[in-house]
Amino acid sequence: MGRYLATRLSHVVITLFAMMTLTFFLFRLLPGDPTAMVISPALDPAAQEAMRVRFGLDRPLVEQYFVYLANLARFDFGYSFRTSGPVWDLIQGRLVNTLLLILPSMTAAYAIGAFLGAYIGWHRGSRTEAGVILVATILQSAPLFWLSMLAILFFSIKLDLFPTGHIVSPGSFPEQTWRMYLTWDFLHHLALPFMVNTLYQLCFPLLLMRSTMLSTVGEDFIELARMKGLTERQVLFRHAMPTSLLPLATTLPMILGWAVAGSVVIETIFSWPGLGLLMVEAVTQADYPLVQGAFLLIAVLTVTGTFVADMLYGMLDPRIVYR
């Protein structure tokens, strides 16, 4: 276990390092001169040059890269080209907003997906099963942005039940503070993107759980559990469901990636001031330090999630031995 943990952690470090390197060089390969965005071409050429020197953009790319790495080692993500403020300050608040939307939503999606999938797999051939599968397949194949817009159109514009976007009513909290998360207004704004994302993300665990259940139901140990005199409910919740959870756990890392991708779409459409929206803004404005910071943070989240899922798998299935 100890050795496995060490190997696995070294993989985490290597992945993150590769990620840092990639984000650094990839965005510099993009067309467009970022300096044009930050440094006004109207300025005196000497002043422009002075600015370049200040941001370190006059030095060779490789040198810039090592400076970037050295700063990262000190948890210094640099300064945004656009606001000139520290990247970490910009990201921090956005990260909280994203997590408050994505974590509950993904947890709900997984919990509902697992239970509903187990239920319909257990009641194979029922009308409920057919209906749920139909709806889940439609939801899963629909693009997330389209679902979001439909939801806004119907629930916000037509029924006027929820606001069309933003995290709180504009103007109510000029500065982001923790107090705004404790308001009804926040929950009111959270409701629609939460529901859309949950509904969209629960289809995959639901369908996977159902198909795993179908094969579990035919297992000998399920029959033996019945023979022991367990009630149907006990057979389902003690034997069929826990055993069927294993494939779901293996797909967790993949889902984390989807959650991130989903957050970009959801946040853009609902104007949710999270990391996803920040990334879209940063990319379109060629704000390198900000993009690097945001990407790195998402990489850290995903890689950590994968690591946790790996450990979780060993807990769910005792046959897995870490070497």
Partner: protein, 350 residues
């Protein structure tokens, strides 16, 4: 083996005229037809027949745990005087394991791979009665001891045991509530002969000690000879012969039993086992007459028209054959390969 004295006592399990069918794509398959048998307290009854003859189906029907496409169409399963088929589902559920338990066939698949053995035995006990935790653990340890597995290992997972040990664990689980009937579905098929022998010795000793009745299902006649007081031979979902094991094996009253006996290996003799040619009968649309007629070297025209009844010859023996009376003469022919080859030629003829 030791003949039990209480065979004529009130049966603990009595099956009367049980009919069961499976819904298949081609129609309903009559998996069990008019099955009647009884099990006296402490008795061991062997149930033999080829794959698909309905042995395992019968055990599942007795437990009341059948696949969703199976339906009991008639008959009774009387356990300690009460008919489980006619009673409520809940009553049947309560009788399972507490009264009638089962030693499953495949020890690897019958145990849940992700739960500890102790938890799997504990839940069987707790479903039927409440027990303090310390007593429960002591009970599970005791069960491990009586089947010969180290009680230290009750918290292990199934994959941490060898095949033979897993089978012992299943026996321990079956005895958890001191049932009066234990059904054993080919409990040793996956094991080598030495472990197989150990398991049966253990099972016999436990039966003598705890006095439960065993219904042992197997396709191995030798296992029945060694372990069972009485034998029931099944073919195509019907009982074709029944009686005390020794008598039935010494002088079968049905050609199918003769055929099974030919498959027994004999030590020290240059001997080639003889196979019964042909295939098991079609149970969806069974041919008229005796179900074994198509594979029987002694079939008469009447056999293909009239289904014979299971008729007693002595108080404890019965056979379902029109020629049961001539079996002594036929038995000498049944020992020859040519006799069975003749059927094979007929069966393979276009």
């Amino acid at each position: 083996m030791h003949q039990r004295s209480n065979i004529n006592a009130e049966p603990v399990l009595h099956i009367k005229g049980l009919d069961l069918s499976y819904a298949t794509a081609h129609g309903r398959a009559a998996a069990l037809t008019n099955i009647s048998l009884s099990l006296a307290p402490g008795e061991s009854l062997g149930l033999v027949g080829e794959s698909g003859c309905g042995k395992s189906t019968l055990l599942k029907a007795i437990m009341g745990v059948m696949p969703s496409n199976a339906a009991i169409e008639g008959g009774q399963v009387i356990f300690k005087g009460a008919d489980l088929v006619a009673g409520s589902k809940e009553a049947w559920r309560k009788a399972r394991w507490a009264g009638i338990s089962m030693i499953a066939q495949s020890a690897l698949n019958a145990l849940n791979p992700v739960r500890r053995i102790s938890a799997q035995i504990a839940e069987a006990i707790l479903t039927h009665k409440s027990m303090p935790k310390s007593e429960l653990r002591a009970r599970i340890c005791h069960l491990f001891e009586i089947v010969g597995v180290d009680p230290e290992r009750i918290d292990d997972y199934p994959h941490q045991f060898s095949g033979g040990m897993r089978q012992r664990v299943l026996i321990a689980m079956a005895l958890a509530l001191e049932p009066s009937v234990v059904l054993a579905d080919e409990p040793t098929t996956a094991l080598d002969v030495i472990v197989q022998d150990q398991i049966f010795n253990r099972l016999r000793a436990l039966r003598d000690e705890l006095d439960f009745a065993i219904l042992l299902v197997t396709h191995d006649l030798a296992v029945v000879i060694e372990n069972c007081d009485r034998i029931v031979v099944m073919y195509g979902g019907m009982i074709v012969e029944t009686g005390p094991t020794r008598e039935v094996v010494r002088a079968p009253s049905h050609p199918y039993t003769l055929g099974l006996r030919n498959a027994l290996p004999r030590l020290g003799v240059d001997y080639e086992p003889i196979a019964i040619p042909g295939r098991p009968p079609d149970l969806v649309d069974p041919a008229p007459g005796c179900r074994f007629a198509a594979r029987c070297p002694f079939a008469l025209p009447v056999c293909r028209v009239v289904t014979p009844d299971l008729l007693p010859s002595t108080p404890d023996r019965a056979a379902r054959c029109h020629r049961a009376g001539e079996m002594e003469t036929l038995a000498s022919l049944a020992g020859k390969v040519e006799t069975w080859n003749r059927v094979g030629d007929l069966a393979n003829a276009p």
